[in-house]
């Protein structure tokens, strides 16, 4: 009686698959929302700021000062303009028409020629923290570029090379992680509804009246959503490769394995929520709370796990999203072998086993006559 029957699990999986195919909402959530989110985040969240508006006040008016402004403009990171006639440079900052003002002090060329310190003052709009920080990081680059052009002799240069993401493009960094994030949220959300819906509509009584076992039901419900999750990945993968031109450095096989190891705990998390909540509204809220929030904030999608407080570094070990963000970035950009990913694989496998067992145990208790 207490035995698992693949036939029953298959019957449930087929039924569940039909629910999915007939529900435009589920299909849209699984296929269109991820595509939109990836496009949106891929395009809109661009940590690489280019063309930051800035004013150049040249008080030196020498070939050297003009060369300096040319070097800065050529970088593409700032769009330099001269101050409008009759407008003080600070006024432009006030009005938000520029984020920074570069002032080349008089005597710039003379100091350079004499081998002395030549000064350019930079006033930045500190109220826009993000831009100011980025700009500060660029300043060293400007200085280096200007020095190599203008100083005699040129100072020694530190030349950085960024491996795996040569252009240090944040899009390359965001899109793979976005895949992990979207999948984590989606899988938890979709499966969180399934068992709760059966309780709500009363069809759970029908399942109970048959010889169906908790394991049949849990596996029967996992399977179709696993398929749906894979379809989501296919959509995002295609977008990443074509629209965003991402490389794929890793092995597709390793990635597929990681994908399955990741989908199982996410789907099981949703099922556990569903089994516990029994109501779709409650399940939805729990899914948002436990699926969306931690994956958004703690997975390393935005904030690197390494720079979190020690507590979160340890606590996020059980968060499947954390490992899959890592795996995704690795698969697209770096291409490590399965052995390098042993820890993430192990943790994903453990979390999955844990969550399935928890839903089963809880479900058993509910269904026990």
């Amino acid at each position: 009686m207490r035995r698992f029957a693949p036939r029953r699990a298959w019957a449930i999986a087929r039924k569940e698959w039909r629910h999915i195919l007939r529900d435009p909402f589920t299909l849209g959530m699984a296929l269109i929302m991820p595509a939109l989110m990836v496009v949106y985040f891929g395009y809109a969240i661009d940590f690489d700021m280019k063309g930051i508006r800035a004013l150049l006040v040249d008080r030196d008016h020498t070939p050297a000062s003009r060369e300096f402004s040319r070097v800065m403009s050529a970088s593409g990171f700032v769009a330099l303009e001269a101050p409008a006639p009759g407008e003080g440079p600070m006024q432009a900052l006030d009005l938000g028409r520029a984020k920074a003002v570069f002032t080349v002090q008089p005597g710039f060329a003379r100091s350079l020629a004499q081998g002395l310190q030549a000064t350019v003052d930079v006033d930045m709009d500190g109220s826009d923290n993000q831009t100011a920080t980025t700009l500060s990081a660029y300043l060293a680059g400007f200085q280096q570029a200007a020095s190599s052009r203008l100083a005699q002799p040129p100072p020694p240069a530190l030349r950085a090379r960024y491996l795996f993401n040569p252009e240090l493009s944040s899009r390359f960094f965001i899109v793979p992680a976005m895949l992990a994030l979207v999948l984590a949220i989606l899988c938890v959300l979709l499966t969180a509804m399934t068992v709760a819906r059966e309780w709500e509509t009363g069809s759970m009584e029908l399942l109970l009246g048959t010889p169906a076992q908790p394991l049949d039901i849990i596996l029967g419900k996992l399977l179709p959503y696993l398929g749906l999750g894979l379809a989501t990945v296919a959509v995002v993968y295609a977008l990443a490769r074509t629209v965003f031109g991402l490389p794929f450095a890793g092995s597709h096989l390793t990635f597929l394995l990681a994908l399955l190891l990741f989908l199982i705990p996410c789907l099981s998390q949703g099922l556990l929520i569903s089994v516990v909540a029994r109501q779709q509204v409650v399940a939805m809220q729990l899914a948002m709370l436990t699926g969306m929030l931690p994956n958004f904030m703690l997975s390393g999608f935005i904030f690197p796990v390494e720079s979190m407080p020690r507590f979160f570094q340890v606590a996020t070990m059980i968060l499947p999203g954390r490992w899959f963000v890592l795996i995704c970035r690795d698969a697209f950009l770096k291409g490590s072998g399965p052995l390098d990913l042993a820890l993430p694989f192990l943790m994903l496998g453990l979390t999955g086993a844990l969550l399935i067992s928890a839903s089963l145990a809880r479900f058993h208790k509910d269904l026990e006559p």
Binding site: M1, A5, R7, R8, W10, A11, I12, R14, K15, R18, H19, R22, D23, T201, G202, S203, E205, L206, L207, L208, G209, T210, P211, A212, D216, E368, P369
Partner: protein, 301 residues
């Protein structure tokens, strides 16, 4: 061997006793009605008998199989149609049946055979491809019944199968119930409709978890109202105010537009009526099941 037997069945949920020492037995082929107010313990009793809930105390058997024993054997013997439709509205009729067959481990050939038999039983003329949500309520209930009968159970539990269904469809559903009983199946049915209860072989009445009466409809009427009833037509109502404790009569209770009351001793009504000028026309009448239900279940005279 009885088809269904309960002995001293008790179900407690925490401090609440939903079913309190209930015993009865149902013969094969019987239409057994289960009546009671909402929350009286009818559904809980049925869930125990279907093997969905273990009793806190007592024992029960379906077709000779103890409900706490081999659940697979229990579930193979009983069909259960719950209060709320258990059909998936977004699936077709055939898909619902195929799902049920898959869970029951039925072969494709068995499914096809039972599908044909059941479609002809309920007179379903559709293709089977129609989505359940597109079916009218009465038909949906009949398909629901077909689903409960798919695995050919000897005993069917129908929990308010006709709630919210049009009268014509209700009548049709009851003709199906009679056909099932005619095939030798035991039908265990709950209802709130007294005209449906009249069609049961025997009726069990539940109140607050206890079984308070169990008899045929006729037997129940006789034992609840040994002296029959007096029915008074509508009209001037001041006679009602003159009924006192000494009159040996129960307080009149509205029955449609008329009034029903009961004698507490032989001849009490004639004695009272003789002294009432302007009393509307009256007659002695047989109680209906509604009278029985109101007196026993709701405790009204």
């Amino acid at each position: 061997m009885p088809a269904v037997e309960a002995r001293g069945l008790v179900v407690r949920f925490g401090d609440f006793t939903a079913v309190d020492r209930v015993s009865f037995s149902v013969e094969p082929g019987e239409i057994f009605g289960f009546l009671g107010a909402n929350g009286a313990g009818k559904t809980t009793t049925i869930r125990v008998l279907c093997g969905l809930l273990h009793p806190s105390a007592g024992q029960a058997w379906v077709d000779g199989v103890p409900v706490e024993g081999d659940l697979k054997a229990v579930k193979a013997r009983v069909g259960y149609m719950t209060q709320r439709s258990t059909l998936y509205a977004d699936l077709s009729v055939d898909e619902n049946l195929a799902f049920q067959a898959g869970l029951r481990g039925m072969s494709a050939a068995d499914l096809a055979r039972r599908r044909g038999e059941l479609f002809s039983l309920i007179g379903f003329a559709g293709s089977g491809h129609e989505l359940v949500q597109s079916l009218p309520g009465g038909l949906r209930q009949q398909v629901s019944l077909a689903q409960a009968l798919l695995h050919d159970p000897r005993i069917v539990f129908l929990d308010e199968p006709t709630a919210g269904v049009a009268p014509e469809a209700r009548a049709r559903f009851w003709s199906l119930i009679r056909r099932l009983a005619g095939e030798g199946r035991t039908v265990f049915v709950t209802t709130h409709y007294m005209d449906e209860a009249e069609q049961c072989g025997r009726i069990a009445l539940m109140r607050d978890g206890k079984l308070i009466a169990l008899d045929s409809p006729l037997g129940l009427k006789g034992s609840t109202y040994p002296r029959g009833l007096v029915e008074v037509d509508p009209g001037a109502g001041d006679w009602r105010t003159r009924i006192s404790a000494e009159s040996g009569l129960s307080q009149p209770r509205p029955h449609g537009l008329r009034w029903h009351l009961e004698e507490q001793r032989e001849g009490a009504w004639e004695a009272f009526a003789a002294a009432q000028p302007g009393l509307p026309p009256w007659r002695r009448s047989l109680p209906t099941l509604e009278d029985v239900f109101l007196k026993l279940v709701e405790g009204r005279p």
